[in-house]
Symmetry: C2
Subunit: 191 residues, 2 copies
């Protein structure tokens, strides 16, 4: 019994280290696509963070009800959005090192599990920031009559355009993360 265990363990070890060239080619292809997608997602989140972080508008006139100036940090949700996008962008840039390591060494599995776990956490953080900001942007555009919340986009057109646009990059990165996680799964299963 014990002998057969050792044997089967040895066979499986041998099989994994000498995996077929087509499998290795496929894993390398996935690793290269992973690397490219990470750069793309990092650019998207950077664009979102910068676009939201620099959004402000000063009104040329003043009445009793309209404020003079609006900046993104007037709304705490937008601060969270910028923070989340910045963290995810930083993570993506750092993860390029590990992604490059996977192009060179196709058989490593533990580092892939670590990467896909961190990807999942960052995916959650980014989705969270983007959705929370989208909920606030929705109220900024349409207001809510039940809660007596006034849509401030009627005055701050330019500011609203900027904050709405900044959501796009974030949601693109969310989709990229889903693809990245799926690709990692496939790569791990070919172990």
């Amino acid at each position: 019994m014990k002998v057969s265990e050792v044997e089967s363990g040895e066979i499986s070890k041998g099989a994994s280290s000498s995996s077929s060239p087509s499998k290795r080619r496929m894993k390398r292809g996935l690793a290269i696509m992973d690397f490219i997608l990470r750069i793309f997602a990092a650019t998207s989140t950077l664009g979102s963070a910068v676009s939201m972080g620099t959004a402000k508008q000063t009104m040329p006139f003043a009445t009793r009800f309209v404020r003079f100036k609006v900046v993104y940090h007037d709304l705490p949700t937008f601060v969270f959005f910028v923070t989340a996008n910045s963290i995810v962008c930083g993570y993506l840039v750092l993860s390029l090192a590990l992604s490059f390591f996977h192009i060179v060494r196709t058989i490593s599995v533990k580092s892939r599990i670590l990467l896909v776990f961190l990807d999942t956490v960052m995916f959650g953080l980014l989705t969270s920031g983007a959705s929370a900001a989208a909920a606030i942007v929705n109220i900024a555009h349409y207001g809510n009559s039940s809660a007596n919340w006034f849509p401030f986009c009627q005055q701050y057109n330019y500011f609203c355009g900027r904050i709405s646009g900044s959501l796009i990059g974030s949601f693109i990165a969310v989709v990229v993360f889903i693809i990245l996680i799926l690709m990692s799964e496939i790569s791990i299963s070919k172990h």
Copy 2:
């Protein structure tokens, strides 16, 4: 060249189908924990959906500024929250079948990849719903002086307690999803 490819493929196939008992035991253990965590997450999301879906409050008095009644569907974000939680709850109940299949058949890999992909998508949907609702609940509690948004929780205490409480179940399920995805990764890597 071709012969060696076929041979190595056969060896790896043989190794995977007769994987060591300890590996199989570990995979079965992970599958059982997966099953239990899914039931737990389904209960959490169901609780969240019901708690938010039945939240309403009628005021015993009326002034010129205070509305008489508030229900969750006055705010579109809360409708999204209830929908997202209901979908995820339904998915979790359906996925129990596949999870049970993994307890019985520990070696299947393709169904695990399908499951972890669907898990990731549902994780995104749930995080999105919970974060959007949290952003609105934050404004309901504290308002926003820059945007002239009034915190309606000052009048609707009971309603606000219900909607704040309903977020808890959702965020618990979010954490459970991260654990589920990590466990699936480990299980796939032991293939």
